[in-house]
Structures are given as structure tokens and as C-alpha cells.
Amino acid sequence: MLNINNLHAGIDGKEILKGLTLHVGVGEIHAIMGPNGSGKSTLANVLAGRPKYVATSGTVLYQGKDLLALPAEERAREGVFLAMQYPVEIPGVNNIYFLKAALNSIRKHQGQEELDAMEFLQLAREKMKLVEMDETFMNRSVNEGFSGGEKKRNEIFQMAVLDPKLAILDETDSGLDIDALRIVAEGVNALRSEQHSVLVITHYQRLLRYLVPDFVHVLADGRIVKSGGKELAEELEQKGYEWIESEVAVAQ
């Protein structure tokens, strides 16, 4: 699904990812953990194609294609989804209109028939139940006046509707209460299947109690410094990131 090899990337001329290598197979859930400033969000933004984030060397192959060569919208149409850390408010753009336009541009690109208003509404209602979102949210402007938790829930709702092949969750769990956390995890678990892969970027281990990853990686100073199974997350929770950092320092 996703093969990242020796990726160097940064913003404003400052290198943040310093040779990151990661392989995500089809149907796998990977968690990327790491302290603040380790490059977690840079990785998410580089993969989604946010302007100003520049890859200087290395390769990213997504389903065999050079992901970095595609503009952001093409990546989305190919099935990459980024649940943003800070979803932006867009006054004047209606949620339901926006999401229908997004879904149909993806479906069109993938050679599927576009959904009409009724079909879309039916799908949206079904997915709204999944994330326990009130229907009134749909007729409001995108994220406008939403609380932090509502914004994150809206990200998961969009993910559920757009049905991506590769979902990247950039600290979606930050600042969520336990109920919202459960809803986010359920949204991701519903996506879990043999065709979907998920990259969960997080600072804390909390989310991983509800969402059991196949692999856990620790990112420090722009590189994956340790990989393991789900038990690695628990170990991090107990020992903190200093443990990894000192271990890396010793190795160097």
C-alpha cells in the first residue's frame, strides 16, 4: 500500500524528516508515536501534499505510484485521506454540499457513478449514526463554531463517507474526552478491512486501547527509531519517551 524510503522532508528550508523509512501493507493499522517535534505531523502533511512541506530526497510509493508527484486533490482521489490535527473552519461552505462534491470527485476519478442528492443523503445519514453526529451539523458551514471534539468527529465522519484506502489520522485523539475517543476508534475500526490501511499518528497511548494497531513505530528526530507490536505502545506509556531517546543516544 505505502512504501516510504529514506524520506527527507521539511518546511521553510528546515529539515524535519531525516531519512524516514516505513512500509504499510494492505489492511494493516500502524501507529506512529513520538514526542513533540519528532516530525509526526510533518510526515502526515507531506503524505497529504500540504503546500510548503517539501520532500528533498527519498521516495514515497503509494499503490506503486509516486505519491509525491501528485497534487493534494489527486492523492485524495486515489484514496488517501488525512484526518487533520486542526480542522479549519470554512464559513459559507455548507458541510453537506462540500462532502458531496468531495465524494463525487473521488468517485468520478475512480470510474464510479456519481451519487445524486438522495443517494448521498442516505449514505451521509448512515455514517452520521456511526460517529453519533447530530444531523443539524450537516447544514452548517464546514467546522464553523464546532467544538474541538466536534471537529475531530467531523473528520472521522468525512473519512467514513469518503471510504479511503489509506487513512492518516494526525493526532485525532488529542484533546478528546473518553466518549469522543471511543467514537473515533469505532470509526476507524469500521474502516478496518482487508482493503484499508490506517496510519494513526499520536502522542498518547490512550487511543490505542480502543484501536489495536498491528504495528507501533516510535519516531524521534525525524526517523523511526523503534518498531514493534502493540505492546510497544504500552511500554512507552509506562516508561515515557525519554527511555527511547536515551536508548537512541546510546546507540549513536
Binding site: 501534499g49 493534494a72 486533490e73 485524495a76 487533520m84 479549519v88 464559513p91 461552505v93 468531495a102 476519478h109
Partner: protein, 437 residues
């Protein structure tokens, strides 16, 4: 068919253009107005209120009034839903076969202005508010008007739906035509009416319009102006609103057309407890020049005014917001807010924003401000990251910026018509900006 003037009227020599059978008072006003225009001359950029707009491209043309209506010039209806009454003017002359007066509604009178000159209310209000002493273009209109609309709503009458005044212009560089539509809207005590003025056209022409609105005590008046003139046209329009005690006026100005446009909206809040909501939206591209000039005069105590103008500018367009709010010494407990927000889509578009507050007493709540910005890159990325193409995403955001004003337009058919006009402009806007046009 309306009367055909057999004279050429050229601006080089402005003479009052009398209408057959006009009352002595109208006659006298015309003569005075023509004299004032001659004395004032065309406004130049040396005058503070005209400093951003040069009329040289307009004054160098030898405009003529020609009220003959060429065959096939009857416009198609603008709205799917029929208004309560509709007056259609082609180059300033009433198109009788396209107009509906609908005077079967009790309490409402809609007439061509030239047929209303004998009415009591006309005598009481005409040319009383739109000052031709200091405003050259108003003086020009007052001296030269040939027709327009007269709307009178009797006290205690609420009219559902809206009255539509539809002006269609046309002309060529070889045959440049001007018109000076003149309207008077008098809304009685406790009455309610919505009036929509639309300006469309083809080719090169000059529209110089003046509308006087009197909102009586507790009257509710909604006035929409939809300026969608040809991109080669010149348009100067003054809306002069007089508000009495506890009246409630909503003014919406949408400007999408015209080569050189000046929208002037002046409101006098003369009675206690009157409230005004004034909004405007201008969407410009190419070399369009649109100057929005507003004046809100708080004369009486306890009045509210809320003003919001939004501009979207692309290409080499130039937009101006020059808004002034005056709070007079007696106007205590005034509540006033003035905002101008602008979106620049190209590096060569220019906006001049000049919000001004002039407060002459201490017991008021007033604020004003203006912003100039580009499309929000974060929002753009958010939309693209969901699969929406860059072009569409830009259009969506531009339209979203405009929608705050469009969505508040109460009349559905008008809102849709304005939306369509905006949407039809958007692909061009983006193409121009990205150098693909």
C-alpha cells in the same frame, strides 16, 4: 410605444428636458438643477468624495438620450416568479407591453413617474431628499429625467412579494446612449414593501439613476439594487433614503457589472428608534472600476445602523469602499457598526477602503473596520485534501465569501438570480487569475 425625443441631447450643453404637462414645480426644479450642474461641472478627483474615481472616460463621450425602442429590445423576464408589479425601462423609456402595474392590490400604487406628477405625495416628496445643490450627477438626473417609477404604499398596508424595476440599457460606441431614470418610493406609516431594482444591458451606454425612498413611521422597507450592467457600460446610481420614527430599512446593493460604476447610498435617520441594515457586495474582474460611496447620517436618538460591504476583486479591477457615518449632536444612544471586507484574487487588483466615523456626542456605541485579504490557504488545502480540484475549491471559497450577503437576501428568486450571476462570473475569475483565460 413611449414618446420619441426628436432632439439630440448632448451633455456638452445641459438643458432641462421638460415633459409635456409637467407641473410648474417640476419645471422650476429642472431649471434649477440644470443651472446647478452647469455651476458645479463634472466632479473631478480633486474633490474628496471623488478622489478615487475619475469620470474622464465618461465625460469624453458625446452621450445622447434616445427613447425610441429598437425592435427586439424587449428583455426576457429576469425572475421565474412574477413580482407584484414590474416596470421595465429600455434606455430610460417605459416598455408598456412588458410592464405590469398590478394596482388591483389595495393600498399600493405603482405608476410611471411621469404619470404621477399631479399626486399629492409626489408634490410633497419629489426632489426633497436627493440634493441636487451639491451633487452634480443628481443635478444632471433631476434636469434630464424622462421617466422612472413611482411607488406609493398607503398607511397600514403590508405588500407580500416585491415590486421589480427593471432597467435595460443598450448602445454602441458610434451611438452612445444615456438615460436618467428617476424613482420615488413613498411608504406610509406601518406599511411594508420590498422593491428590487435591476440593471442589465448590452454594449456601451450610460445610466445615471436616482431613487428617493421615504420610509414613514414604523414602515418596513427592503430595497435591493442589482447592478449587472454590460461590461462596457457606465453606471452612476444614487439611492437616497429618508427614515422616520421606528422605521426599519434594509438596503442591499449587489454590483457585478459595468466598466465604470459609482453606487452611492445615502441614508438619513431622522426619527427616533429607526434602524437600518445596509449591505453591499461587489464582484469585479478585468478592468472594472466600482466605487461604493455610502453616507449614514444619525440625526435622531436611539437609532441603529449596521453596515457591511464585501468586495471580491480579480484581474486589474479596482474597487472602492468609501463609507461615512455621522452621528449628530442630538443622536444619543446611537448604535452603529460599519465593516468592509475585501478579497483580492490577483496581485494587480486594487482596493481602497475608507471607513469613516464622525461622532458628535459621547453617548454612543460605534465601531468600524476594514480588512483586505487573499483566499485562506488553509481552507484551500482542506478542500483539496478531500479531493476537490483547486479551481473548484477556489470558486467554492470565493462564493462562500460572498454568500454571507447573498444568503441574507429574503426574496428567493432575487437571491437565485444574484447567485447565478455570481456563479457565472466565477470560472472567469479563476481562469483570469491563473493565466488560463
Amino acid at each position: 410605444m413611449s414618446s420619441v425625443l426628436d432632439r439630440d441631447i448632448r451633455l456638452a450643453s445641459v438643458e432641462p428636458q421638460h415633459i409635456d404637462g409637467e407641473p410648474e414645480r417640476v419645471r422650476r426644479i429642472r431649471v434649477q438643477a440644470a443651472d446647478r450642474f452647469k455651476a458645479l461641472g463634472w466632479p473631478t478627483t480633486k474633490r474628496e468624495e471623488w478622489k478615487y474615481t475619475s469620470l474622464t472616460p465618461l465625460t469624453s463621450i458625446d452621450w445622447k438620450i434616445d427613447q425610441s425602442q429598437p425592435a427586439g429590445s424587449d428583455p426576457a423576464p429576469l425572475f421565474g416568479e412574477m413580482p407584484v408589479a414590474e416596470l421595465v425601462f429600455v434606455n430610460g423609456a417605459l416598455s408598456t407591453n412588458k410592464s405590469t402595474l398590478a394596482n388591483e392590490h389595495p393600498g399600493i400604487r405603482v405608476l410611471p413617474l411621469r404619470e404621477a406628477m399631479e399626486s399629492e405625495s409626489f408634490g410633497q416628496h419629489f426632489a426633497k431628499y436627493a440634493g441636487y445643490e451639491q451633487h452634480a450627477l443628481t443635478a444632471l438626473n433631476t434636469a434630464l429625467w424622462q421617466d422612472g417609477a413611482y411607488i406609493e404604499i398607503a398607511p397600514g398596508t403590508a405588500i407580500e412579494g416585491f415590486v421589480h424595476l427593471f432597467y435595460v440599457g443598450g448602445g454602441t460606441a458610434e451611438h452612445p446612449l444615456m438615460s436618467h431614470p428617476r424613482n420615488l418610493i413613498v411608504v406610509g406609516r406601518g406599511s411594508q414593501i420590498t422593491v428590487v431594482e435591476s440593471f442589465f444591458g448590452k454594449g456601451m451606454y450610460f445610466t445615471n439613476t436616482v431613487t428617493e425612498i421615504v420610509a414613514g413611521e414604523s414602515a418596513v422597507v427592503d430595497h435591493y439594487k442589482f447592478e449587472n450592467e454590460s461590461l462596457d457600460a457606465f453606471h452612476i446610481g444614487t439611492v437616497q433614503i429618508h427614515q422616520e420614527r421606528s422605521s426599519n430599512v434594509t438596503s442591499r446593493t449587489i454590483a457585478t457589472g459595468g466598466a465604470l460604476v459609482r453606487n452611492e447610498i445615502n441614508v438619513a435617520l431622522t426619527g427616533q428608534g429607526a434602524s437600518l441594515s445596509m449591505e453591499g457586495l461587489f464582484v469585479l474582474s478585468g478592468r472594472q472600476h466600482v466605487d461604493n460611496h455610502t453616507l449614514i447620517d444619525h440625526i435622531a436618538p436611539h437609532c441603529d445602523s449596521l453596515e457591511l460591504f464585501k468586495g471580491i476583486l480579480d484581474g486589474n479591477a479596482r474597487g472602492i469602499f468609501d463609507g461615512r457615518i455621522i452621528v449628530e449632536p442630538n443622536a444619543v444612544k446611537t448604535n452603529s457598526r460599519q465593516t468592509n471586507r475585501n478579497l483580492l484574487l490577483s496581485e494587480s487588483a486594487v482596493i481602497d477602503s475608507k471607513p469613516t466615523l464622525e461622532i458628535h456626542n459621547d453617548d454612543v456605541k460605534c465601531n468600524h473596520g476594514s480588512t483586505i485579504g487573499q483566499l485562506d490557504e488553509e481552507a484551500l488545502f482542506y478542500l483539496r485534501a478531500r479531493g476537490i480540484g483547486e479551481k473548484e475549491a477556489r470558486n467554492l471559497l470565493v462564493f462562500a465569501f460572498a454568500s454571507e450577503i447573498v444568503e441574507r437576501m429574503k426574496i428567493g428568486v432575487v437571491r437565485e438570480s444574484v447567485s447565478r450571476a455570481l456563479y457565472s462570473r466565477l470560472p472567469a475569475l479563476v481562469a483570469e487569475q491563473r493565466g488560463e483565460g
